[in-house]
């Protein structure tokens, strides 16, 4: 393959019901950094049914070109129609890099596209960089073995270099409505004989619709909080600080917290301004999800708990004594 024909950093822009997903904004921000390093452009791929109004938003967040595919077949995400359109754009325009959010949609689409284009895909990357003094090789770093090991993966001889990135890992750029970009309409050439999955129903479950990845302050509890009333105090603390509560996996397994509030390798990756790790020992799986937080306060009885290795302030003590006092103090 002649790699020199492949250029620009492409982002699959994920929208659900006409709403851009935050991970797409984060990817556009990262793509802009990579494109600057390469001297190339950021190209957004926007698929849906009547979604062209989102193109301006893509530009404001860093896209130089937006490929817009509007078709009724693209109204809801379905594997085959989306794969066909993404591959159509890729075959025609030859991207050097393609980034996709590691959501349930992105992790369904990414491997399908990579197999169709016969190229490599690296899942759930936490860092992306361009190798120095090279032909634009993308260095894709991701955790493996449940977060116990980090690996940097490359895809030197195939294009595009594809990567999925978890929501909350990259930072979105500041919105800039003065940016200019080009909008390119794509007419999908569907092979509908391959559409063999039918959507019967989409169900949003009644749940608290919080997104802990967007919280400025996270009050996170673990085993040390206990399964009884301890979490009530954590809720109070979060409320006083205008934050949200979250937890380690142990508390989700114990049924105290719902999975959407779990921080860590198998939960969410968060980077709040302040992260309280309360009664959390800091298993590497948990650290993988929160160590990028700006400021970390840890309270744990065990002075050798690994959480203290990443904490900016570590307090050796009982969370169930300290948190109520802290709430009281802050209320003053």
């Amino acid at each position: 393959m002649d790699k020199s024909q492949y250029r620009d950093v492409y982002v699959f822009v994920e929208q659900r019901g006409g709403r851009m997903q935050s991970v797409s904004l984060e990817l556009l921000g990262k793509a802009a950094e990579l494109a600057r390093a390469l001297g190339e452009r950021v190209c957004a791929m926007l698929l849906g049914d009547v979604v062209e109004h989102l193109a301006a938003e893509c530009v404001a967040y860093g896209a130089d070109v937006v490929f817009v595919a509007d078709a009724p077949q693209l109204r809801d995400y379905m594997t085959e129609p989306y794969t066909q359109v993404v591959c159509q754009i890729a075959r025609e325009h030859k991207p050097g890099i393609m980034l996709i959010g590691a959501t349930t949609i992105g992790r369904d689409l990414g491997p399908r596209v990579s197999a169709r284009l016969a190229t490599g895909l690296t899942a759930d990357c936490t860092a992306l960089d361009i190798a120095e003094g090279d032909d634009g090789t993308l260095l894709m770093t991701r955790p493996a073995f449940g977060g116990n090991l980090m690996a940097t993966i490359t895809c030197r001889d195939h294009r595009p270099q594809m990567s999925t990135v978890r929501p909350g890992v990259m930072r979105a750029a500041e919105r800039d409505d003065s940016r200019k970009g080009e909008i390119v309409r794509v007419t999908p050439l569907f092979d509908e004989s391959k559409f063999r999955v039918r959507l019967l129903e989409t169900v949003s479950e009644e749940r608290e619709t919080v997104d802990i990845t967007q919280a400025g302050v996270l009050v996170s509890g673990g085993r040390g909080v206990g399964t009884s009333g301890g979490f009530e105090k954590l809720r109070e603390l979060a409320k006083v600080l205008g934050g949200e509560i979250s937890s380690s996996r142990a508390m989700v397994d114990a049924g105290v917290m719902s999975h959407d509030r779990q921080v860590g390798q198998t939960g969410k990756t968060v980077r709040p301004d302040v992260y309280f790790a309360l009664g959390i020992s800091g298993a590497i799986q948990h650290l993988a999800g929160m160590e990028e937080s700006d400021f970390i306060v840890a309270v744990n009885k065990d002075k050798f708990a690994p959480i203290f290795q990443v904490a900016d302030v570590g307090i050796v003590g009982d969370v169930n004594k300290i948190v109520p006092l802290l709430v009281e103090r802050l209320k003053k």
């Binding site: 491997p111 899942a123 759930d124 493996a144 090991l149 993966i153 301004d273 970390i296």
Partner: protein, 260 residues
């Protein structure tokens, strides 16, 4: 109905510890298990077999030791087990792995292919959809439930961030299944005894007849350039003080950071 379940033997990653002195992984003594999502997938296959009758085949790619998870699957109720093992398969990334599995699946024949959503040692969730693409089959990922709505159609519940979607998919197809699909049954005593008497078929690359350029390290577009344990950032200050004093320290720091 012919159901093939792709399973993987993985180290129990929750048992892996880091050597604090060298920062390397301690793998000694870490047990190998059947990947949890794959076990959920196997359970789904066995339930479909219980209800409608089916031949359930389990297949894995791995070293000879991976025989253990195949025998576990036989003891749970699978009918046939195939181990894909060959030095030419080694070093495979997800694309090469999916090519190897797809080669075996073409020979085995199938109405339904089930894989786990992802394996706990890699967490990529890529092999299932890539197998589906190689075999030109429709896929549904993140599956929590599946039932046969008629002889050729599955009604499937797939998990999403917001809730779930109900989908209808014609056979043949590929499902990638979550561990939560169903609590896996235990191996029966008779099943365990029999599982060790039964044959696990060993297939190599010649048997699969796959193009060698698509297998193993040579068939892998991606390479591990380097691996490392995450460097711990410099630890902050540690205080062993009375709770009231601890509270003052935290409050002072929050002020410094303009949180309060």
């Amino acid at each position: 109905m012919k159901i093939v379940v792709c399973i993987k033997q993985v180290p129990d990653t929750t048992e892996i510890r880091l050597d604090p002195a060298t920062g390397t992984m301690i793998r000694d003594g870490v047990p190998s298990i059947m990947n949890p999502d794959d076990k959920g997938g196997l359970e789904m296959a066995l339930r479909l077999k219980d209800e409608h009758g089916a031949e359930v085949t389990v297949v894995t790619m791995g070293p000879m030791q991976a025989d253990a998870v195949l025998r576990e699957a036989l003891a749970m109720g699978a009918d046939r087990a195939v181990l894909l093992t060959d030095r030419k398969f080694a070093g495979a990334d997800t694309l090469a792995t999916s090519n190897t599995l797809a080669g075996a699946l073409r020979l085995l024949g199938y109405d339904l292919i089930i894989t786990g959503r992802q394996a706990i040692d890699g967490d990529t969730a890529q092999v299932g959809p890539q197998v589906a693409e190689h075999l030109d089959l429709p896929q549904v990922t993140y599956v929590e439930q599946a039932r046969l709505s008629d002889d050729n159609t599955l009604t499937v519940r797939a998990s999403t961030e917001e809730g779930y979607r109900m989908l209808e998919v014609g056979l043949p197809c590929v499902l990638t299944v979550l561990v939560t699909a169903g609590k896996a049954r235990y191996m029966s005593v008779r099943g365990i005894v029999e599982a060790f008497r039964r044959e696990v078929e060993i297939w190599d690359s010649a048997r699969i007849g796959a193009e060698e350029s698509k297998l193993g390290l040579g068939g892998s577009p991606t390479r591990v350039a380097k691996s490392f344990t995450r460097g711990a950032k410099a630890a902050g200050q540690l205080y062993e003080v009375e709770p009231t004093e601890a509270v003052e320290i935290i409050v002072a720091k929050l002020r410094e950071k303009f949180i309060i």
